[in-house]
């Protein structure tokens, strides 16, 4: 009798699991590679919270995308490349898109995802030359790349110096990793073009100790310091710059070195520090009102809701919105709500986030408009400069969104991606 019950129970379970799987496969699976633990958790958490809150809001407000619920299993990477690859392998079946949240992981996933037919979206990070859609069919890095970022920072410096920076000294303090090394090539090319001297100052993970680096800066007195940092490296660098009394208005970080986390520990010393940005801070946008209404007010906020409206939380919203929009576009293109990963890629390639569409989605004036095409997976290439006000404890946008040096960046992208295509024997698309 007990055996019979067990068999019936087991059969019931199998049927139930099968039923669940059937439902699950009909959902849109957006796996999340997150780092809520470890040295980089203070940055990983607000970003992941932005994603989760946005997905929850779409599920609650719209009933999902075209009626299909979003499922977003989290996999903890700890910002470790190898663990990130394991997370990808674990969740790749049926996945629409992966957002690796690490340049190192992105580099590892490029050949794997290309072979598996899974979209990788590295928003404003990852391999810059993946912007060339002719070579990198499955990889997207819109709306702006690191090489755009490097040239936008130099353009900002050029503007401050009336177009002439010949003989000036610019230092790059960078995370000694694939991420931190990305802008070097562009900055070297721009140094030849504009005649400035480039100082390269790598900082090893995690960047807790940077005294020697800042002693070098103090002795050699660069006119400007650019920073490609992440995690504790940013906080220590900003505090060290304040400590040697480096003029903070001449210290410019990439968009991953420009969150509240990075400047608050330095207190008033961080006043005037600048960073690039491709999304606005604050919580007065329509999307925030919707998240508050459909998620936070129902007690469903990811975490304790304390990151709401911060730079990295808002970036998570933007990243999640683009991923959701890609699914919407894919559903329209293929006339079905039940899209496959291949259909999803088509959607991502045809994302067109005009100012009007951004406003419709609740992101009016939140980020610059951009569109992907078959040739261009890197978006508009627009970013602005924001500056930290230590008294008000807030970031202020101090420039319009601007382009980098397209002439230089496009040439470098073409060179690098063509080389990659030859190495990997990839036939060019979009002819």
């Amino acid at each position: 009798m007990r055996l019979k019950k067990m068999i019936v129970g087991l059969l019931g379970s199998v049927i139930a699991i099968g039923g669940f799987l059937e439902v699950a496969t009909a959902d849109l699976k957006f796996p999340m590679l997150v780092y809520r633990t470890g040295a980089y958790a203070p940055n990983g958490i607000p970003n992941a919270d932005g994603f989760v809150d946005y997905y929850k809001m779409i599920n609650a407000r719209d009933g999902g995308i075209g009626g299909e619920k979003i499922v977003f299993p989290e996999c903890e990477t700890g910002y470790k490349t190898q663990v990130g690859v394991e997370c990808y392998e674990k969740h790749k079946d049926g996945a629409m898109v992966f957002q690796p949240m690490s340049t190192g992981i992105t580099y590892q996933l490029i050949p794997k995802a290309t072979a598996d037919g899974v979209t990788v979206y590295s928003t404003g990070y990852g391999r810059t030359s993946a912007a060339n859609g002719k070579v990198f069919k499955w990889i997207f890095n819109a709306p702006v790349t690191y090489w755009d970022g490097a040239s936008i920072a130099v353009r900002h410096i050029l503007k401050q110096n009336l177009g002439n920076i010949k003989g000036k000294k610019i230092a790059l303090v960078y995370h000694n990793s694939a991420y931190g090394k990305e802008p070097i090539r562009t900055l070297e090319t721009l140094a030849k073009k504009h005649g400035y001297e480039l100082m390269l100052l790598p900082v090893d993970h995690p960047g807790q100790e940077q005294k020697a680096t800042w002693l070098k800066i103090r002795k050699q007195r660069p006119n400007y310091v650019l920073m490609w940092g992440w995690g504790v490296m940013n906080q220590v660098a900003i505090k060290s710059a304040a400590s040697i009394r480096f003029p903070m208005e001449n210290f410019i970080g990439i968009w991953w070195s420009g969150s509240e986390n990075d400047v608050l520990p330095a207190g008033s010393g961080a006043h005037g520090y600048k960073s690039l940005a491709f999304n606005a801070p604050g919580s007065n946008f329509q999307v925030h009102k919707d998240i508050k209404k459909y998620v936070h007010d129902k007690g469903e906020a990811s975490g304790d809701g304390s990151h709401f409206g911060t730079v990295l939380y808002n970036r998570g919203l933007l990243q999640a919105m683009v991923q959701v929009e890609a699914a919407t576009v894919a559903q329209k293109i293929h006339g079905t709500s039940k899209i496959t990963p291949a259909m999803y890629r088509d959607g991502m390639e045809n994302v067109n986030l005009s100012a009007e569409r951004l406003a419709e989605l609740g992101f009016k004036d939140f980020a610059p408009p951009f569109k992907n095409t078959c040739e261009n997976h890197g978006g508009s290439g627009l970013a602005a400069v924001q500056q930290w006000d230590a008294k008000a404890k807030k970031w202020n946008m101090i420039t319009e969104y601007m382009y980098g040096d397209r002439e230089v960046v496009d040439k470098l992208i073409a060179e690098d991606s063509t080389k990659y295509a030859k190495e990997q024997k990839i036939a060019m698309r979009c002819n």
Binding site: A39, G231, Q235, P265
Partner: protein, 334 residues
């Protein structure tokens, strides 16, 4: 003086100051190793946990509030708006003593007479558990730590030394971070207090007896367990001091636990059983890595060598003096 010489002196001075910060971490390792023969891998996490707890008390954060809110749908965050740093430090010391008691009660007591490697593995486990508990208790956000210790470059020193360079040369004065000067003063006080405590108090003598020979100490009626609680408590206190210094510099965040990696070459160089060794080792590593980064790195046009150079230095010492500069020489009779 030539600018090159002044820059060299500045590098050495800053190296010494960084070395003091490393020594603060290494001291905790040495104390525990001397008294119980345990290489406490969790010492870095102790520093992190102490700093997290201190900020938690300062800001009145309710421990485990994230977890409570998640489980019960409450909206709890703070007991009170703020607490004076002195009181917060006292409460943190009490917490670290309770932690030491728990470590003895839950871990060490059950591993008496086990191989050193087992105890070492236990401290690895302890490190991960404590990091997780710290995360659950206080959250993973970057926290600003301010206990009133001044920080930033010393303007006085800069102005006093600006005229030392030869006339006509471009020199901006010598740089030292005031926070590091304070760390040095605190380290000197700490080491003096430890020396006086172990030399002139009954408990201190008992502690030294246990460090010399566990069995002999037991035979004269010294309680090994209370000594262990005391030693782990003291190293918890030292971890708090290290956590304050490092946390003031970079904000309190989970990468703080990695400062333990900075203490390893210090211990190899200074010896695992010597308090002066931890100090001298720290100073040598600090100076060595800064000189390497600026001069060798500059010469070869490479950067970010200071992290691994500290280990190169330690390995060279290991080849010629395996017990470290001041460590006890191991003599095994056959």
């Amino acid at each position: 003086m030539s600018v090159e010489l002044l820059n060299f002196i500045e590098t050495v001075l800053n190296g010494l100051m960084s070395g003091v910060m490393y020594s603060l971490v290494a001291l905790g390792f040495v104390l525990i190793f001397k008294a119980s023969g345990v290489f406490n891998f969790a010492q870095g996490v102790f520093a992190l946990f102490a700093a997290l707890t201190l900020v938690g008390f300062q800001t009145g954060q309710i421990p485990f509030s994230h977890l409570i809110n998640e489980l019960f749908g409450t909206n709890l965050h703070n007991w009170y708006p703020s607490l004076h740093s002195f009181l917060a430090i006292l409460l943190t010391i009490v917490t670290m003593i309770i932690l030491a008691w728990l470590v003895e009660r839950l871990v060490l007591r059950h591993l008496v007479n086990q191989e050193p490697i087992i105890l070492f593995m236990a401290t690895i486990g302890l490190a991960f558990v404590l990091e997780g508990v710290g995360d659950l208790m206080w959250g993973s956000d970057v926290k600003v730590l301010d206990v009133g210790i001044p920080s930033g470059g010393s303007i006085w020193l800069e102005e006093a030394t600006i005229g030392w360079a030869s006339e006509g040369s471009e020199y901006y004065g010598m740089y030292i971070d005031v926070l590091n000067v304070w760390a040095t003063i605190i380290a000197v006080i700490l080491v003096t207090a430890l020396a006086l405590f172990s030399q002139y108090t009954k408990t201190g003598r008992a502690l030294r007896a246990v460090a010399d020979d566990h069995q002999a100490a037991l035979s004269v009626g010294i309680s090994l367990r209370s000594i262990w609680i005391l030693v782990w408590g003291i190293s918890g206190f030292i971890a708090m001091v290290a956590g304050i210094m490092w946390g003031t510099e970079s904000g309190v965040q989970f990468s703080l636990s990695l400062i333990a990696l900075k203490a390893l070459p210090v211990l190899i160089l200074g010896g695992f059983t010597s308090i002066p060794g931890a100090i001298i080792g720290g100073l040598l590593i600090g100076v060595g890595e800064k000189l390497a980064e600026i001069y060798i790195g500059g010469l070869l046009d490479i950067g970010a060598i200071e992290n691994w150079f500290a280990y190169v230095l330690a390995l060279v010492f290991l080849l010629f003096r395996p017990q470290g500069l001041f460590g006890d020489k191991i003599i095994e009779r056959v």
